[in-house]
């Protein structure tokens, strides 16, 4: 599973990375966590609001830090597809 956290390195972005990392660890799943901090890369993807969370190439949230349980649900849902 590929998880991308898009943000310019701000506090919310770091928090999202931390929460996503914890969710992955607690679920015991294999996932690659990637930080995308390059603004042009974000613009190329169409991101207008950060932090943004992508799972397997699909945006699942933007502009907020979802809770750990919500991220777990997102990961579970993505795993079914």
């Amino acid at each position: 599973m590929k998880i991308e956290i898009l943000g310019t390195g701000c506090a919310k972005c770091k928090k999202l990375y931390q929460v996503a990392s914890e969710a992955v660890k607690e679920m015991g799943i294999e996932a690659e966590l990637i930080k995308v901090e390059d603004l042009q890369a974000m613009m190329d993807m169409g991101v207008m609001i950060t932090p943004a969370l992508y799972i397997n190439g699909e945006a699942v949230s933007a502009g907020r830090v979802p809770g750990k349980e919500e991220i777990k649900r997102m990961l579970t849902e993505a795993g079914k597809q």
Binding site: K12, G46, A59, A62
Partner: protein, 150 residues
């Protein structure tokens, strides 16, 4: 070293996300121009309506993250409104250019002299943007994690 672009703070939520139908008529193109004017006035950001229509996940999440959404339709067909509804968005304001006394034609460059006047009329309809009404009931603006400094 690449210079950091200015005025590109993406943290937090935009006050207002504007979508225009940008359709194939005078009023569709006027809707586009009005949306650009609103963005240039600093009142919000413009979103990609076609991205919502295609259900591109990034575009849908951008819209969901906005505190307020304005859809500018050119005519009574209201393709913009229907596109947002298609993407599962229901909490937005919608203005229609033909409701403001502009007759629809297929002259794509028609009525360009009315852009400023129509922009003011649309802005008057969305005066609720100031002060900001955030959907959770708070009236505090979210400056983003940069504190609104960028």
């Amino acid at each position: 070293m690449t210079e950091k672009p200015r005025n590109v703070c993406t943290c937090g939520s935009p006050k207002l996300m504007v979508y225009s139908c940008s359709g194939a008529s005078n009023v569709g193109q006027l809707a586009n121009d009005i949306a650009i004017n609103i963005v240039e006035s600093g009142r919000g950001s413009m979103g990609c309506l076609v991205g919502l229509g295609a259900l591109v996940s990034t575009m849908v999440q951008n819209a969901k993250a906005a505190n307020n959404i304005l859809v500018i339709d050119g005519c009574a067909v209201k393709c913009g409104r229907k596109t947002l509804e298609h993407a599962g968005l229901t909490d937005f304001d919608n203005v229609v250019i033909t409701d403001m006394g502009v007759k629809k034609t297929y002259d794509l460059k028609g009525d360009r002299g009315r852009v400023s006047d129509l922009t003011n009329k649309v802005i008057a309809k969305i005066a609720w943007v100031k002060p900001l009404t955030i959907r959770d009931g708070s009236t505090e603006e979210d400056p983003g994690c940069c504190g609104g400094k960028v």
